[in-house]
């Protein structure tokens, strides 16, 4: 049950986009149509689920001082966490890109251009940094959290892309066209998502 409530909570209550604004740059840039939004969303879920548990293990066994640390209880390396996390993410996206290109060319042609973008997507690094704050008990919890936040991000980008497709037929004031009205749309979607805020799981 704990896994289930963590899962639901990370999708709706702690939604990466509407509660923390993570991954906004690519969220706004790649949400012009549903198809590409779908591809990027999938890629984000995939990379999050793979890197977050990896960073969890690094954090638990190398960075945090204590009985689990392989360098002994007195070595505090936590100041290195930013550089280690981003290195894992960058290396992983590079690796995934090469593997997918070699073995799954069909998937590569649909995801390909988004994979390198993901290394600098705040949602991925943000997930790892939140993981560090949340103190998960084991790898399973961190993986469930990764899947949940990835799905939340996916849901948000596909929803926005669908709205923007419809929005292109409406008569928006000239200075608001494009990015301005998108911001306001995301704000209104955020207000709708706040309905989940009061739920405590």
């Amino acid at each position: 049950m704990e896994y289930l409530s963590l899962f639901v909570k990370s999708i709706f209550v702690d939604n990466m986009i509407f509660a923390y604004f993570l991954g906004m740059c690519s969220y706004l840039a790649v949400s012009k149509n549903v198809k590409t939004a779908n591809g990027l969303g999938m890629a984000v879920i995939f990379v999050l689920v793979c890197t977050l548990p990896l960073n969890y293990l690094l954090n638990k066994y190398i960075l945090t001082p204590g009985e689990n640390c392989i360098f002994g209880p007195n070595v505090d390396l936590s100041f290195l966490s930013f550089i280690l996390f981003i290195a894992v993410i960058a290396a992983f996206t590079q690796l995934v890109e090469m593997i997918v290109e070699k073995f799954l060319p069909a998937l590569y042609s649909s995801l390909g251009i988004f994979l390198p973008l993901i290394a600098v997507n705040c949602a991925i690094l943000g997930g790892s940094l939140f993981m560090q704050q949340k103190d998960f008990a084991n790898v399973g919890e961190s993986a469930v959290y990764a899947l949940g936040s990835g799905l939340g991000w996916y849901l948000a980008i596909v929803a926005l892309a669908a709205i923007r497709e419809k929005l292109s037929y409406s008569n928006v004031p000239a200075p608001l066209k494009g990015i301005g009205i998108t911001f306001i749309t995301v704000g209104l979607m955020g207000i709708a998502f706040m309905a989940f805020m009061g739920i405590s799981l």
Partner: protein, 201 residues
């Protein structure tokens, strides 16, 4: 020298990284609940963009093109760690309040964007100026949004009660995340009404 002046002035209004280039929204919106946090965040970003543009520009002829992303990430991560450690030492309360968003400066698109677009092809001094100016342009928007959110959300400015004297009731919606997006949409609206050439078709 006229060139440097232009490099400095463009990012602050005409080519503002947030409202025109739509970069770096990820970590910016969540820190605008009050002016103090926004101010510290703006200073941190100015320091990181300026210094990492400078360092990358000095190294630009020695970085192999294929691995440049990871080299840039390491340089940026190093600068962010310095800023984070500095804040932990001298402003611990604010560092706790900004939580993961300081770490997320690493994936702030402004930093990477300016390095890719400017520092890799220009001399160190010009890159430093460009980095600082982009940080300033970012900080300015941050301060504008934070000003309205704190004034109408809590009735204070930098923590001093301002609106309480005239019997103002705090508007709780301004504190909540979606309002930051809507306010930013309005800032873009105002800017594009003044500068007609920025309007999208």
């Amino acid at each position: 020298m006229a060139n440097l002046k232009e490099t400095f002035l463009t990012p602050i209004f005409k080519g503002n990284p947030i409202t025109v280039l739509v970069l770096g929204i990820c970590s910016s919106l969540a820190v605008t609940v009050e002016l103090k946090g926004a101010f510290v965040m703006a200073l941190s970003v100015i320091a990181v963009t300026g210094l990492s543009s400078l360092v990358v520009s000095i190294l630009r002829n020695t970085i192999p093109n294929r691995v440049r992303i990871i080299v840039q990430l390491v340089v940026v991560a190093m600068m962010v760690i310095l800023v984070d450690q500095f804040l932990k030492a001298f402003a611990y309360g604010i560092d706790k309040q900004l939580s993961v968003y300081i770490g997320l400066i690493i994936t702030n698109c402004i930093v990477m964007g300016r390095i890719e677009a400017f520092a890799l092809g220009n001399k160190p001094l010009a890159s430093l100026v460009d980095g600082l100016a982009n940080g300033l342009g970012y900080g300015m928007i941050l301060i504008i949004v934070a000003f309205f959110r704190e004034l109408f959300g809590s009735g204070t400015l930098f923590g001093f009660p301002v609106l309480k004297a005239i019997g103002y009731t705090n508007n709780g919606l301004m504190i909540l995340p979606p309002m930051a997006l809507i306010l930013l949409g309005c800032v873009i609206w105002v800017q594009r009404s003044i500068q007609k050439d920025l309007q999208e078709k």
